[in-house]
Symmetry: C2
Subunit: 396 residues, 2 copies
């Protein structure tokens, strides 16, 4: 996911917002006994890389867990250590922002299987002393959330005021609500779904095949060979990136405009701005992301099916829920269309949960949750303020 | 494009329909003087591979040119010489079918740049005596149509009764109407557009990058090296294939059903049927298609912009048109959505052309034009029968 539509985007040129932040930290969890994964395999100890902003209040009631999407990480605010660019949710998080760092204690950790410090396929396998590669066990959204729960426990937080995330972050929020109903006061899944559709799986499979087709992937052992399957990973990113934008957004931003030329080249150059933009997305991605993490995390998303875990009945996932839910979808999101959110809302209603749902009118596509969407900010602010009053969290 | 949604599709198992057909033939055009391409480059002589069905009547008024789509070819009816499967439009063409071979003389030629016998990047460059590869000049939809016009001329046909095609075939039909208004009595563009959108270009660019990222592409000189960039071409096909189907079609056909297993593998196998299906689409495609042709033809489609050729005014393209038009779009086609057809209809209306337009309610996506869509057959039958009466073509 990106924050902007242009290679010369403002998340590159703008000054990073300075917020008092703890530096990137790590905690080791599943150290005394390993985590039993959904696959049945054991994994541990697990290093979790995370960052926090703001202060935990005295009764530890103001913690918000931000869950990142497929290619996101714990760097909600920047500068990002690899790209030096600002964080992926600067518009949402900060002093006076919707996730107000003067009021809340914000936590974001790199997911299990990730490549920004949390244990993943690029980590050293303690048995072989080499990077795991495809020896790393398959993980699920449930496993990611279990790992986060261990982190939260180590941080001494019994109940999160809120779990919030967009896309795969929204899936994690839903999984939190299902698996730890007593630990989440409120839940905000944005542009999410309770299961991956055939089309979602299909696009991910294209990306995985592109990576595995690259000879530099070396059956997953590329780190050992000191290479990266850069071309395959770039193609995977390009294909996925199209799905994050609406046709309207692509049309408005690029149309058929040419890139640095007055006429067609009649060659295979990037004649069109949209080609140049996509190539840039692919090329810049490989500098900050691990190809195996991409395989594992897309697989976790494809496996996600919250109803299946509950006998095929989605409402059963929320039977014990006492959380307040706020769901948001976007009209032009064709990757996780509104119908997916409605299905979750129906299940929550059937479980007599406290739920509000808004479909935001936006032409920005799936990535709208990362972009400047005043309606989104207003909806979330209203919801969070109400929830904070009920939870007795002091206004800043 | 495929005819069916399943690997074990009926176009594999069904008996090919036997229609009296001339075998695959070739004609050499642009032999006395080369064709001046849109790029300004010259190309010639050009071999055109084509097939015909039915009989040309005595006043040569019953010829229908069928234009194929990106990955189609002249084998409208099968068996296909490489795949041994039935042709791509057996549902539409044959005795008593919409394109009735007892009434009409059906012609279909492999497009310029193709790989089924017509001159393309896999042909021998007369200068170097080696395959052209990327030395082949960039071609456009206009160039394809010019080549077809030379073929039609050599066949002694002054006016086509109809030019019909879906997707890229529809683009060719539109180009015929614009460039040879006096040579086409009727025009049927199905699921087409007057220009490629940013999203269309983006998907094609992903495919091209996948091919060019494959080391076996060898800068386009793979034929010389006796290899094919199979992995890259397969990924390109997989990505494109998703765009040919609607989300509903994918959901209905596959959903989250597992392939030959009762539970998830927790590995990178093709757990889901949709994955297995896509892999099959990719793998089977490379046996019948040339990677460079894929590059050249997608580029031709991306360059297509009929308004641009006419001062940015689409209606100007049809100013001299006396043809009867019938446009068809499909509700679930998100690759060339109905809005694209409407834009063409508006331009035709502005040019006071004779036009009918129907949006067919279908959940099959873009590929609906290749599938069993009774509404489509009925609309085209009605239109063609009316046109045939006006043109004095005898009923069979």
């Amino acid at each position: 996911m990106t924050q902007n539509l242009q290679p010369s985007s403002n998340d590159e040129s703008s000054e990073p917002i300075v917020v008092a932040s703890e530096p990137d930290k790590t905690i080791v969890v599943a150290d005394t006994e390993p985590l039993v994964l959904s696959s049945g395999q054991n994994l541990g100890p697990i290093t979790v890389a995370y960052r926090t902003w703001g202060k935990l209040n005295s009764n530890r009631s103001n913690a918000i867990l931000v869950c990142h999407a497929l290619t996101g990480d714990q760097h909600v605010l920047g500068p990002h250590p690899l790209t030096k660019r600002s964080g992926w949710w600067e518009l949402m998080v900060g002093p006076g922002k919707v996730l107000d760092t003067d009021r809340y204690f914000i936590i974001c950790s790199n997911v299990l299987g990730g490549c920004m410090g949390t244990t993943g396929p690029g980590s050293i396998n303690p048995v072989t002393k080499k990077p795991f590669g495809t020896e790393f066990p398959l993980i699920t959204i449930k496993d990611m959330v279990l790992t986060q729960a261990l982190l939260i426990e180590k941080l001494g937080i019994e109940e999160l005021f809120c779990v919030i995330g967009g896309s795969m972050g929204g899936m994690q929020a839903l999984q939190w609500a299902a698996d730890f109903p007593e630990k989440v006061f409120s839940v905000i899944p944005i542009a999410a779904a309770a299961r991956h559709s055939a089309q979602n799986i299909a696009f991910h499979e294209v990306g995985r095949q592109a990576i595995m087709a690259d000879p530099d992937w070396h059956g997953g052992e590329f780190l050992d060979k000191k290479v990266q399957p850069e071309r395959g990973l770039a193609v995977a990113r390009m294909a996925a990136h199209i799905t994050y934008l609406s046709e309207t957004a692509l049309h408005k931003k690029f149309g058929r405009d040419l890139q640095d030329r007055s006429d067609l080249s009649y060659a295979f150059d990037a004649d069109f701005q949209v080609e140049s933009y996509l190539r840039y997305q692919g090329e810049s991605f490989v500098n900050r992301f691990d190809a195996n993490s991409y395989l594992y995390i897309t697989r976790a998303m494809d496996y996600f099916d919250l109803a299946k875990e509950h006998g095929g009945v989605l409402s059963a996932a929320f039977q014990k829920s006492v959380s307040r839910f706020c769901l948001v979808s976007f009209t032009s999101d064709w990757l996780y269309p509104t119908a997916e959110s409605r299905e979750i809302v129906r299940a929550l209603n059937a479980a007599a949960a406290n739920v509000s749902f808004v479909e935001v009118d936006s032409d920005k596509g799936h990535d709208a949750f990362l972009l400047d969407e005043p309606d989104l900010f207003q909806i979330l602010s209203g919801f969070l303020n109400g929830a904070a009053r009920h939870q007795g969290i002091a206004a800043p």
